[in-house]
């Protein structure tokens, strides 16, 4: 898979909580990328088997349609974790910059 900055941002957002369910809108905000860029990445990650998707239980949605969520697979945690670690070793990532500005 082509390693892009946008992929790295999505990987960082996903790896903040590797075992959690991730939702499209929130993931876009955490990764700070447009949905026009994020959804194609999510699709590629699904195709690669790095992500799995599922649907919210309609019984718990209270009058709105069930949302789709994404969870990292073991392979995804390995691959995306490796990507994040590799990128952190090379250059300051966006989360590093945010921490830097926060200080």
């Amino acid at each position: 898979m082509r390693k892009t900055k946008a992929l790295l941002h999505v990987a960082e957002a996903l790896m903040q909580k590797p075992a959690a369910q991730h939702w499209g809108y929130e993931l876009g905000r955490e990764a700070d990328i447009r949905s026009g860029v994020m959804y194609p990445i999510l699709r590629r990650l699904l195709d690669e088997g790095w992500l799995e998707d599922g649907w919210e239980d309609p019984a718990t949605t209270q009058g709105r349609p069930p949302r789709r969520y994404y969870t990292l697979t073991e392979l995804g945690i390995r691959e995306l974790g490796g990507l994040v670690v590799h990128a952190q070793g090379r250059a300051p990532t966006r989360s590093h910059l945010r921490e830097g500005f926060a200080r």
């Binding site: 499209g24 809108y25 929130e26 026009g36 959804y39 709105r64 349609p65 949302r67």
Partner: protein
């Protein structure tokens, strides 16, 4: 001043239009936009459901972004499926031909590969809208 504003010509129609666009239209536009995805694509349901997670004041902008997503990805997905479908037709034609003892005209039952229906529902909708 308020009385003058209320009496201003066009105020109510402007207010009505603003309510329409910011209240009703984001959902309606998104429903039209997601039709660019093929009928069985989970992204249709996904985007409609995501709208409810977006804060109300962000919705018009978010929906505008989704127009970009659907117009590029939805059409690309339809094209990909059509190409795949025609590829299957061609593969079927080649495999039929290989079983024949001598060169013969290959007749493929195209009705079993319904490639055109991939875009039919959206096109039908657009034609109805235009009509």
């Amino acid at each position: 001043v308020i009385a003058e504003l209320i009496g201003l010509k066009g105020l109510w129609s402007t207010l009505f239009m603003a309510c329409l666009v910011f209240g009703f239209a984001p959902g309606a536009i998104l429903r039209i936009a997601v039709m660019m995805f093929p009928g069985d694509d989970p992204r249709r349901k996904e985007l409609l459901a995501e709208l409810y997670a977006v804060p109300r004041w962000e919705r018009p902008v978010w929906v505008a972004e989704q127009l970009e997503v659907t117009s590029f990805e939805g059409i690309a997905e339809r094209r990909r499926r059509r190409r795949q479908c025609f590829q299957q037709q061609n593969d079927a034609a080649v495999s039929d031909n290989s079983t024949l003892p001598e060169p013969a005209q290959v007749v493929v039952d195209r009705s079993q590969f319904d490639c055109e229906s991939e875009s039919a529902d959206f096109l039908d909708f657009m034609i109805k809208m235009a009509g």
